[in-house]
C-alpha cells in the first residue's frame, strides 16, 4: 500500500506515545486502585495523608481550659451551662494562650437565643430549655447585662443595675 495511507496512522501512534509518556510524568506514583477496589478506591493514596495533616482549630479539651482557668471551670461546674463546651462561646482555642493570646467571646444576644428563644416544639429537646420571647423580653439588650452565663442559675442572678425600661 502507498505511504500516504499509512502516514496518518504513524501520526496517531506518535500522539498516543506522547500522551502515555506525558502521563508517566504527570500522574503521581501513588495514583491507582487502592483498598476499596476499582469503583470506589481509584485515587491518589497520598491525599489521605494530606487530609490527616489538616490542623485542628478546636481543642474541645475541658482540662486544657481548666488548667489555667480553674476558677471559671469551678464556677461553671454547678451551672446547667456546664454541658456547653468552652469553645462554643469563646471560639476555637487553636494554640491559645500563645496563638491567639486572646479569644473573642461571643456575648451577643443571638448567641443566647440559639437555645433560649422559646419555640413551641414539644417533640424536640428545645422543649426542655427555659425560653423567652425575644420580641417581648428586653429586645435589643444583651442578655449578659443581667444574666451571668457561668452562674449556677443564670436566671436568678440579681440585677446589677436598675431594671431596664
Amino acid at each position: 500500500m502507498k505511504n500516504h495511507v499509512w502516514r496518518p496512522l504513524f501520526v496517531v501512534l506518535g500522539v498516543a506515545a506522547l500522551i502515555l509518556a506525558a502521563r508517566m510524568f504527570y500522574v503521581p506514583k501513588d495514583f491507582g486502585v487502592h483498598d476499596q477496589g476499582y469503583m470506589y478506591g481509584f485515587h491518589r493514596l497520598g491525599n489521605e495523608q494530606d487530609w490527616k495533616d489538616q490542623k485542628p482549630e478546636y481543642r474541645f479539651e475541658p482540662e486544657y481550659c481548666s488548667g489555667c482557668h480553674p476558677d471559671k471551670a469551678e464556677e461553671l461546674s454547678t451551672s446547667p451551662h456546664a454541658i456547653i463546651p468552652c469553645e462554643d462561646c469563646h471560639g476555637p482555642a487553636k494554640g491559645h494562650p500563645e496563638d491567639p493570646p486572646k479569644l473573642p467571646i461571643d456575648r451577643s444576644r443571638e448567641q443566647c437565643m440559639r437555645c433560649h428563644a422559646y419555640l413551641p416544639y414539644a417533640q424536640s429537646g428545645r422543649s426542655n430549655i427555659r425560653g423567652i420571647d425575644p420580641a417581648e423580653h428586653n429586645p435589643g439588650t444583651e442578655c449578659v447585662i443581667c444574666h451571668d452565663p457561668h452562674h449556677s442559675n443564670a436566671v436568678e442572678t440579681p440585677h446589677p443595675q436598675p431594671p431596664l425600661p
Partner: protein, 262 residues
C-alpha cells in the same frame, strides 16, 4: 492447495476462542476478592449517629464545622446543617434551614423561600423537631462513581474524601449526591464535602460537630468495635437511615427519624 489449511470448523472454533479471549477485560484477570477488600482495614469503619430527639437547633455544630474546616463563614455553603420540620394540623409539612442553622433557630417564623417568612400559631403545630444533616459516607457512594478523574474516593476506613489537587471542578459529584451534601468550595474552587473531620478522628478525637454539641445529639464511632458506644446503639436500638431506597448504604444513622424527613 493452500485452502485446506483451515477448514470452516477450524475457522469458527479459533474465531470463538479469540472473541472469548478478547472480551475478557484486563480488570477481570486481577484477582481481588471481597475478603481482600475488607481486610484492608478490618478494624475501623467510621459511622455517625444522630439522635434527633436530643437536638434543640442551637446550630453550634454548624458553626464549629465551618470554623474547624475553613468553610467561608458567610457564604451559603456548609458541610453540615440542621433542618427544622414543622407539621401543622392541616397536614402540611414545612421545613427550613436558615443559613444552614449556623446561627441556630431563634424565631418561630419559617423560611418559605419565595413566599417569605411564614408565621405559624403555636396551637396549629402537630409535631415539630430538628434534624441535623451531614455526609452519610455511603458504602455505595454515587458521588465517587461519577467522578471522571478519580479525585473523590472512599478510604479503607469508610470515609469519602476529595483530592483537592486532582479535582477538576466538573460538579458531577455535586449533582450525583442524593443527599445534597456536596457543594462547590468558593475559595478552593473544587468540590467539597464533610470529611468526618478526618484529621481529628484519625488522631483519636471526635469530629468538631460532635464535640461542639452540648446535648449529645451527635456522635461518631467505629462499627467494627463491638464495645464502641455508637456501634452498640446501632446494633441494639431502632435506628433509621436517609433515603434507604436509593441503595447508597448510608453510614449516618438516625434515632427518632420521622417519615416526613427527606
Amino acid at each position: 492447495m493452500g485452502f485446506d489449511v483451515m477448514d470452516r470448523r477450524e475457522f469458527i472454533r479459533s474465531t470463538a476462542i479469540f472473541i472469548a479471549g478478547a472480551s475478557v477485560p484486563a480488570a477481570a484477570l486481577e484477582v481481588m476478592s471481597a475478603k481482600e477488600l475488607f481486610a484492608a482495614r478490618p478494624d475501623i469503619h467510621w459511622v455517625f449517629l444522630v439522635d434527633t430527639t436530643k437536638c434543640v437547633g442551637c446550630g453550634f455544630c454548624v458553626k464549629a464545622c465551618k470554623l474547624e474546616n475553613g468553610i467561608p463563614y458567610d457564604a451559603n455553603v456548609t458541610r453540615t446543617w440542621v433542618e427544622r420540620y414543622v407539621l401543622t394540623k392541616d397536614g402540611k409539612v414545612r421545613a427550613d434551614t436558615p443559613k444552614g442553622a449556623r446561627d441556630g433557630f431563634i424565631t418561630k417564623q419559617i423560611d418559605e423561600n419565595a413566599e417569605g417568612m411564614k408565621d405559624i400559631k403555636d396551637e396549629d403545630i402537630d409535631k415539630a423537631f430538628f434534624v441535623p444533616k451531614l455526609c452519610n459516607q455511603c458504602d455505595n457512594p454515587p458521588c465517587v462513581q461519577v467522578c471522571p478523574v478519580g479525585a473523590t474516593y472512599k478510604t479503607a476506613d469508610g470515609v469519602v474524601l476529595v483530592d483537592r489537587t486532582w479535582c477538576i471542578g466538573c460538579g458531577y459529584c455535586i449533582m450525583g449526591c442524593p443527599y445534597g451534601v456536596r457543594f462547590f468550595h468558593p475559595v478552593e474552587h473544587v468540590a467539597d464535602k464533610c470529611t468526618f473531620c478526618y484529621h481529628r478522628i484519625t488522631k483519636g478525637r471526635k469530629t468538631a460537630c460532635v464535640e461542639a454539641c452540648p446535648f449529645g445529639a451527635r456522635d461518631i464511632g467505629n462499627i467494627k468495635d463491638p464495645n464502641d458506644p455508637v456501634a452498640k446503639v446501632i446494633m441494639t436500638q431502632r435506628v433509621g437511615v436517609l433515603k434507604d431506597e436509593y441503595g447508597t448504604k448510608p453510614q449516618a444513622f438516625y434515632i427518632g427519624l420521622s417519615k416526613e424527613v427527606r
